[in-house]
């Protein structure tokens, strides 16, 4: 296991120890009540929209408008899924596939570039290192949406507008990932092991691929997750770059339906179930790998 995950484990144990030690004292009943009320209100606020989405996905189009929103009506989830699959020759699944290509392929490449760069910055001293580090840190502050328009201008010059590459390649610049990889490489790869590998005759690339990559694997999962969800969320750049409805990711596709659903009410039902389907894989991955998220966010936060 690598350093970040271990840290989380250790912290958790600390927390447990603390709650044990504090168990002897009791909080005043008033404070306890306030805490419970805050927790319940928070959970209602943050979870009710999700609950509504699940309920609404199981309803027929007429029930969507005709029955109370928070109550289940006639169970029509499978009917809705079938309609989603057949609508416009299955365009929805085409969009899902596009999203998987943009986010899946994109995040793997983003992770590779980030890890190899972070490793180089953390494990070598060389002239120009501090300049590269400063550039990485500085560019973390350049918001992607400000870059979207200039990137679009550049892509029109390069003739990459309305292509997969036009959306995929610009997202590969991922300074946050480089920064995370830099922190992970520093904390999880001891210099001594690299020295030993070199003494044993391993070249620099061999040392990276057989030792660096292995020791950073926990951090790599974190970077992969951030990259995947970041590109799954990408909206402005594809909206600018793509005109062809067959090339857009699911976020852009669904918002197109949302716009049309004002005139075509039948689309509202498809939109609801489509939104649910598009979220399920992300939420599952996200929640099952929660600890990597927390490790990544704290490592990212610690840097500042």
């Amino acid at each position: 296991m690598t350093a970040p995950t271990t840290t989380v484990r250790v912290r958790r144990r600390e927390t447990r120890a603390r709650s044990g030690e504090a168990g002897g004292e009791r909080r005043s009943p008033l404070a306890q009540t306030v805490v419970i009320i805050v927790t319940v209100v928070a959970l209602v606020y943050f979870l009710v929209p999700v609950y509504w989405l699940i309920v609404a996905s199981t309803k027929t189009s007429s029930d969507l408008f005709g029955t109370p929103g928070f109550e289940f009506a006639k169970f029509n989830l499978f009917g809705n899924l079938a309609a989603l699959t057949t609508y416009s020759h299955g365009i929805f699944w085409r969009w899902m596939l596009n999203s998987i290509i943009y986010s899946g392929l994109g995040s793997v490449l983003m992770t590779f570039v980030s890890v190899i760069s972070g490793y180089a910055l953390a494990k070598y001293r060389f002239r120009g290192r501090s300049i590269v580090l400063a550039a990485v840190l500085g560019s973390m502050l350049v918001p992607g949406t400000v870059l979207a328009q200039p990137t679009y201008v550049l892509l029109t010059h390069l003739g990459l507008v309305n292509t997969y590459a036009g959306v995929l390649i610009p997202t590969l610049v991922y300074p946050f990932g480089v920064m995370l990889a830099y922190v992970y490489a520093q904390t999880s790869i001891p210099d001594e092991i690299l020295e030993a590998a070199r003494l044993d005759g391993a070249g620099e690339f061999r040392a990276f691929f057989s030792i660096g990559v292995r020791l950073m694997s926990g951090g790599m999962v974190t970077i992969l997750l951030f990259a995947f969800l970041g590109s799954w969320n990408n909206y402005l750049l594809p909206l600018l770059v793509l005109n062809d409805i067959d090339l857009v990711p699911v976020t852009v596709g669904l918002t197109g339906w949302f716009r049309q659903s004002i005139d075509i009410p039948a689309l509202q039902g498809l939109l609801v179930v489509g939104a649910l389907v598009s979220v399920i894989p992300v939420v599952v991955v996200f929640l099952s790998l929660q600890r990597y998220w927390r490790a990544g966010l704290s490592a990212g936060g610690v840097r500042f």
Partner: protein, 317 residues
């Protein structure tokens, strides 16, 4: 700002400067490793900015009458910037996101801080469910979150609007006065969780002995939270403020999606929407580039202001 945090030997590698070079033949290795990033960085971070600055200084002029639509590109200096800055709708967009940020960022961060303190407090029950519940919306892509709330704002579909109506209360989440706050609600719903986690992680790095000392001195839990915990996580609070301020200025997804429901959101409702509308709908790359660069500069200035104000406050206390 970079503080030494226990358990995180951040500058580990600095212990052995120069040692690497003795390895022999490693001189080029770091540059080979860095090559993909540097190429991408130059191509899709530096080059777009350079191209956009260049583009913003020109203008496409249509010459000829009707049938002869030859157009040529001429250098106009800062004319596009003047046009952008004298466009009342563009400026109003900045005012709108500033108003939004002044209200939404403090509310969201206050909520995130309360939840983080609750999670950190030893005696809070239901920690796991609270953390999961508040964090879950962050897993939902911002675009889908906006669609979801869009339904909850729409009369006819929304159980909230309909429920309140049956109680005799009529609400309009999409009116001219309320729609900005409806957008703010979507942002708060989406991003409170991630800020909570960042603040919670920072709280976990605070040495436990400090709380012990405070407790022995008779400080209650609330007192400990306000006068020990909060000041100690000031750097994390600054970080979350900075990211939230930047996020506010970039506001695009939520208003663009909710725009389909109401005419109270115009095409130039936020600066980023104005950039998009000018570039895409009006096809004016030159003016759009100038607007994007103005937005970038404003973002930069605001983040410098936020960090310097926070630094000064930190020093005074």
């Amino acid at each position: 700002m970079t503080q030494a945090v226990p358990g995180q030997p951040i500058r580990l590698a600095d212990r052995s400067p120069g040692r690497r070079r003795s390895g022999g033949g490693s001189g080029a290795a770091p540059w080979v490793f860095l090559a993909p990033f540097i190429v991408l960085f130059l191509m899709f971070l530096v080059a777009p900015i350079v191209v956009a600055i260049g583009t913003s200084l020109f203008k496409v002029q249509k010459s000829g009458l009707g049938f002869d639509t030859a157009s040529k590109t001429v250098f106009v200096g800062v004319q596009n910037y003047v046009t952008a800055l004298s466009d009342p709708a563009f400026i109003a967009g900045f005012g709108r996101v500033l108003l939004f940020g002044v209200v939404q960022v403090p509310v969201m961060l206050a909520l995130a801080l309360i939840f983080a303190l609750l999670l950190d407090s030893a005696r809070t029950k239901f920690k796991r469910i609270l953390r999961l519940g508040v964090f879950l919306p962050f897993a939902i892509p911002g675009v889908v979150a906006a669609l979801l709330w869009g339904f909850l704002y729409q009369p006819g579909v929304s159980p909230i609007v309909e429920g309140l109506k049956s109680l005799g209360i009529s609400v309009d989440f999409l009116s001219q006065g309320s729609v900005l706050w409806s957008i703010a609600n979507v942002s708060t719903w989406s991003y409170t969780g991630v800020n909570m986690i960042i603040l919670f992680s920072a709280l976990q790095t605070v040495p436990r002995e400090l709380f012990e000392a405070a407790r022995i001195d008779g400080a209650g839990e609330l007192r400990t939270a306000l006068s020990i915990k909060v000041p100690l996580i000031a750097p994390a609070l600054l970080l979350t403020t900075l990211f939230s301020v930047i996020g506010t200025l970039q506001l695009f997804n939520e208003p663009t999606i909710l725009k389909n429901l109401t005419t109270n959101i115009t095409t130039e409702y936020t600066p980023n929407m104005a950039v998009f509308a000018t570039t895409q709908a009006n096809g004016n790359l030159n003016l759009g580039s100038a607007m994007a660069i103005i937005l970038g500069i404003v973002t930069f200035i605001l983040s410098v202001v936020v960090s310097s104000v926070s630094n000064r406050r930190g020093r005074n206390s």
